[in-house]
């Protein structure tokens, strides 16, 4: 990691003290992040920086440090098991034991989602994002094992949920393709989860963590313009909710795949 910082310093030394100083400030937190991550990304920093043309202030390009990206698109949330719980009475025994009245297991169906994100490139390799995901899907509670042998039944409701999250992204420039237009990335983050039950009269809140990865493909670059480029982003995420709506406090992981239209500026 130290070698990456040293390497970066060397590449910018001929630009003058100003850029050198700023570059060191950005690389120090990167070195810390890399120390917490695996070794290959650290090598990527060196390789990525080596591959990049010296990013001068007069040559804006998508992904350059201190630039922004705005993306709007959609996701498909995979079905989510919400756990299972048993309605119990207390049996006539000593010590008392639960007596099963009936069992309910919950599942949220696959659901489409809208999403919007705004990202800020800290360096060529690392960026941070804030995002919003809004989805709506059916939750089904399947009732079975009734103590009086009632027929199995299903209760349904429509659940609206949104996640407000922040993410850290690592852009794997050493794996770039199509002359640098396509760049894979990895991401991880956390956020606030709010779930509104049908009618929006009751809600659950919690946290939601995620990790995943994808590809950013810039199909239009306009280096001389304030609007530096347009592109597409395709990605997949694994969501890990905590304290959201569940039956029996089960925390169930689910996934998402999505695509976005991307504007760099």
């Amino acid at each position: 990691m130290i070698s990456a910082a040293n390497h970066g310093s060397a590449t910018t030394r001929d630009k003058g003290l100003g850029p050198l100083s700023r570059f060191r400030h950005t690389l120090r937190p990167i070195a810390v992040m890399l120390a917490l991550a695996a070794a290959p990304p650290a090598l990527a920093v060196a390789a990525g920086d080596e591959q990049q043309p010296a990013p001068g202030p007069a040559a804006p390009e998508p992904g350059r440090p201190r630039s922004f990206e705005l993306s709007i698109g959609g996701e498909l949330l995979t079905p989510q098991a919400l756990g299972s719980t048993t309605a119990t009475l207390t049996s006539n025994s000593q010590p008392a034991t639960p007596f099963n009245y009936f069992v309910v297991s919950g599942r949220r169906a696959a659901a489409p989602a809208l999403r919007g994100r705004i990202g800020y490139n800290l360096t060529w390799m690392f960026s941070v994002e804030g995002g919003l995901v809004l989805s709506r899907g059916d939750v089904r509670g399947n009732v079975s094992a009734d103590t009086e042998s009632a027929a199995p039944a299903t209760a349904i409701e429509r659940l609206t949920q949104y996640f407000v999250n922040v993410s850290a992204l690592a852009h794997l420039r050493h794996l770039a393709f199509s002359n640098g237009a396509g760049i894979p990335f990895l991401e991880a983050g956390a956020g606030y989860l709010r779930q509104m039950h049908e009618g929006n009269t009751a809600s659950n809140t919690g946290q939601i963590y995620h990790f995943g990865g994808g590809v950013t493909y810039m199909f239009s670059k306009r280096p001389a313009s304030r609007l530096m480029g347009l592109g597409l982003r395709v990605d997949g995420r694994v969501y890990i909710p905590r304290k959201g709506y569940s039956f029996g406090n089960s925390q169930q992981v689910f996934g998402a795949i999505g695509g976005s239209l991307l504007v760099a500026f």
Binding site: T85, A87, T88, L89, T90, S91, N92, S93, Q94, A96, F99, Y101, F102, V104, G106, V139, G141, V143, D146, T147, E148, S149, A150, A151, A153, T154, A155, I156, E157, H197, E198, G199, T201, A202, N204, Y245, S246, F247, G248, N249
Partner: protein
């Protein structure tokens, strides 16, 4: 069973009773017990909830013991049972021991007396509660409890005693009545010779007791807490819990006496109530906010007169059914009108 008295020139009280059995049940209630959670008192054209208007309730202990239980042990047991209800954070109920008395728990003397009474005519009755009611205001002015000492073996042992009924468990049930709540139908029973035996239950206020030696009913269940909190709300009960209202219908007509249970999958709590008139209308209060599953069943695990004034009007000919949607309970509000269809057996 209606006793006209004239305690004061304004008051024309009458007396009701709720009893607690372990095998069979009979109820003498001049008050309308159309909901397990609460009794209604007819005052003129209005039905007023039966409740105390002043707390703490002053109570006396009859200065008589029975084999195995002294008067002071009875007092300590009753105090523990009052404390169980008092400790419900969402219900504003309290009681104060006023002293020992030689008065019996059957006298209309303005004193709420708790004691033992031999009732050989009702060998299956463990305990009984009655009230003296101001029929102008509906306010309870006196309530007596007796525990049947005729042939019932009692225990006040901390861990219960095999073959003996736990006095604290039964006292907790009767004190629920003393404060004004009625019976719950959250229980499963089986027919045995001479009556019914509890298989399991979800409320202290279920009308049939656990077997001798069992002390489970010392602790309240969510259904009990909801019932008492709905009658004497406190501690954010009204803002933090919600309710479900609706109708149970069969062949286009309302079903009277259907038992409706709400289960919160996230909170894991069961709370029930009954449809209370011929329109099939029901209300279940004290529910944790969020989605609930609704289950409707005929009342078939205890004698109907444990719950209703006129059992002949209660419909029990339909299948157990679940409502096909989650009812969404808002905090401090109502889930909206729900209609549940049942079909004949």
């Amino acid at each position: 069973m209606m006793f006209a008295r004239s305690h004061t020139s304004r008051r024309r009280p009458f007396k009701g009773a709720a009893i607690f059995l372990f095998c069979a049940i009979a109820v003498w209630m001049p008050v309308h017990s159309r909901a397990y959670q609460q009794y209604g008192v007819q005052v003129g054209n209005r039905t007023i909830k039966l409740k105390w208007n002043r707390m703490p309730v002053q109570y006396y202990i009859e200065n008589v013991g029975v084999p195995g239980v002294t008067a002071s042990q009875l007092q300590a047991t009753v105090e523990a049972s009052f404390a169980t209800w008092h400790d419900v954070p969402t219900a504003a109920v309290s009681a104060q021991f006023a002293g020992y008395t030689n008065a019996q728990p059957t006298q209309d003397d303005g004193l709420s007396v708790i004691g033992f009474l031999a009732d050989p005519q009702e060998p299956n009755v463990l305990g009984s509660t009655d009230w003296l009611i101001d029929d102008i205001t509906g306010e309870i002015v006196e309530s007596d409890i007796f525990f049947n000492s005729s042939s019932i073996p009692w225990s006040v042992s901390a861990g219960g005693t095999s073959g003996r009924f736990d006095l604290q468990s039964i006292a907790t049930h009767e004190i629920g009545h003393l404060f004004g709540i009625g019976h719950s139908a959250l229980g499963e029973t089986e027919q045995v010779s001479g009556g019914r035996r509890v298989i399991a239950k979800g409320a202290v206020m279920f009308p049939i007791a656990y077997s001798p030696g069992n002390i489970t009913d010392r602790a309240l269940q969510p259904d009990d807490i909801a019932g008492m909190s709905d009658l004497y709300p406190a501690g954010g009960f009204q803002s933090n819990t919600g309710s479900v209202t609706g109708q149970v219908m069969k062949n286009g007509k309302g079903v009277f006496g259907a038992h409706v249970v709400a289960f919160s999958p996230s909170a894991g709590t069961l709370v029930g109530n009954f449809t209370q008139d011929d329109s099939g209308a029901f209300t279940i209060s004290g529910l944790a906010p969020g989605p609930v599953i609704l289950r409707v069943e005929p009342v078939d695990d205890a004698d109907l007169d444990s719950f209703f004034d006129d059992p002949s009007t209660v419909d029990v000919n339909y299948k157990v059914v679940y409502y096909g949607r989650f009812a969404i309970v808002p905090p401090g509000g109502n889930a909206g009108q729900i209609q549940i269809q049942v079909t004949p057996k």
